[in-house]
Assembly symmetry: C2
Homo-oligomer: 342 residues x 2
DNA sequence: CTGAAAGCGCTTACAG
DNA sequence: CTGAAAGCGCTTACAG
């Protein structure tokens, strides 16, 4: 299994390595027709495949980018990653996806590993706790874009959802259908993960603007494994909520499990809206009303912004953060209690 | 952003590049204590990060493997991929995942791309239509393992499910619960994709062994977008099936959609079992009885077999194909019609 | 139109 | 205990 190299091709074709290289890179400008043919034949006969590692070393570009996802278990992450991959493929870039598992230490390890592998740029769903590292990359002008979350004081372009609006859309829909006692559960906000904070804020604001009371008992930010206990507590209240907004897909799953365990009927006993249009939403019983994120657009945009930075088409992080619009997908998990349609 | 190289570190520490390299590779055998410290300091001060691309070129090993999945939309693929990643991480190997999208042309492109990138080995969920390429890799003794499917006449170790047993488990469970009219739908077998064929075979055999008639009207292998039409046809029969076995997760999804559209009740009107333990199985309404594949084990095994080949611990493809055992997860989508429990 | 030469950033016998 | 030198497989000015 001796590998055939460019030198072998050059020999076989009776030209120099330089010429073979030109040929491979389609710089045919002054190349003789017969030379081309000889080279093509030699490549064919020897079954030559260029060694990209060698090329990368010389060119100082690997034509690949890294993406570090905070947590691959979210459908959001997988969908966005796929969109990034597709967009990169269009431009002949490859993609290496890593899962930080919500662990800043892992995130750091992956950033270093990917940079050691000389990826040309990074799209990071930041855990938020590697500020020095982010800062260093910014200072070095290393091509970087954040996804889903910004990082305070690190002015790097970030591709994000309009999170407040996402909650607003849900609250409006619920209120328009006659609901009054609305609850919301998000994942833990202890790390100050901004989408969770913003979604909760949006929830409060929307309640306010409808002149509804905002009760702390109805608003919880907890770890997934505590969602069940949290719901138990709510159900012990004199007035349990009539509707609940799940801050993301993992929370939704826990809520659905609780509903089953309590043998509640959706939407008769409880209306549900989930942020993230989970894959089973349309064929669940009942079909689930959700707030969809435009994952495809978001991934595509992130890839384009990064590729522009890599290609120096865009000098700095001067553009405003992109905020993408959520979309309400009305299905059947919200009861019609005779509210006003807006 | 001038990158700092090993030469810079050597200068700073007043040693040669060789010594720095030794240090980095922890070959401390004869290294002076003060030398070590000087090098460590220099690395620290300069913020030096080794360039893995350069190392790979020299060492002719990238410490990364590629995995080419037939279709990333299957939960099976994503779960197995994650297991492979984890197993590789343990051994300090990286993983690049590519999605062939059931398209042999894409598969070929990825094989070539990954080999050009000098990955040390490949795990392929084969589409089956690149036999010459597979053959070539076998001949070159390039480290390779197949997942999910074998390839006829290409004796490369393949990690697979015991597919016949998977169907058998489902049929037995259904019959034990008093069902008689059993149907099965799998994805298209036109490409001779063996798991689909084997699952259908297993279904037939199990029926036989229970002395039940095998009706062609109840056994269909079609593309996902034809599942709905196929079911419509079955429901026009004088006796539609009482129970249906979904050959994989994508087929299951289509069946569930059909059930909803026809407003059928599971399991009163129709019992369902799906091969692949889909993530929503436990909290669907009703919870879905499934046949689970040991995806974690399968991925881990594939990674280990490949890593062994790469490390030459294992000379050839002499080991028998691994067949992994499916597991019946009894939940609530199968009616109890008073059969005999086995 | 094509080739000789230098160099990308490492590693690795080998010499001392 | 450490260094000089060659080489991994390419690309790219530059010369002719």
């Amino acid at each position: 299994m001796k590998t055939v190299t460019m030198a072998d091709v050059a020999n076989q074709a009776n030209v120099s390595k330089s010429t073979v290289s030109q040929y491979l890179n389609k710089r045919y400008d002054y190349m003789g027709e017969k030379t081309k043919i000889r080279i093509a034949q030699a490549i064919e006969e020897l079954g030559y495949q260029p060694n990209i590692v060698a090329r990368s070393l010389k060119q100082k570009s690997t034509k690949t980018i890294g993406v570090i996802v905070a947590n691959i278990l979210h459908t959001f992450s997988t969908e966005v990653s796929r969109a990034i991959e597709d967009a990169c493929n269009m431009e002949d870039f490859h993609t290496i996806i890593c899962n930080a598992d919500d662990d800043p230490a892992k995130e750091k390890k992956y950033i270093e590993m990917l940079r050691a592998k000389q990826v040309d740029g990074l799209i990071i769903f930041p855990t938020g706790n590697n500020r020095e590292l982010y800062r260093k990359m910014l200072d070095e002008k290393y091509p970087l874009v954040f996804m889903d979350r910004p990082v305070a004081e690190i002015p790097v372009s970030s591709v994000m959802l309009n999170n407040e609006k996402a909650s607003g859309l849900a609250v409006n829909h619920l209120i328009n259908n006659g609901h009054r006692r609305l609850a919301m559960i998000t994942a833990s906000t202890t790390e100050n993960v901004s989408p969770r904070v913003e979604r909760m804020e949006g929830f409060k604001k929307a309640l306010h603007s409808h002149k509804l009371p905002v009760s702390e008992d109805y608003m919880k930010s907890v770890e997934p494994d505590q969602v069940n206990g949290t719901l138990e507590d709510m159900w012990k209240l004199d007035e349990p909520p009539e509707a609940i907004l799940a801050g993301n897909d993992l929370v939704l799953k826990e809520i659905l499990q609780f509903v089953k365990q309590k043998d509640l009927n959706i939407p008769r006993d409880l209306s549900i809206i989930g942020i993230d249009d989970v894959p089973y939403a349309s064929f669940y019983n009942p079909p689930l009303t959700t707030i969809a994120q435009p994952t495809f657009q978001m991934g595509t945009t992130a890839a384009q912004v990064l590729l522009n930075k890599i290609n120096k088409k865009q000098p700095a992080d001067n553009l405003p953060d992109d905020r993408f619009e959520p979309e309400l997908k009305i299905r059947e998990s919200v009861a019609d209690k005779g509210g006003v349609q807006s």
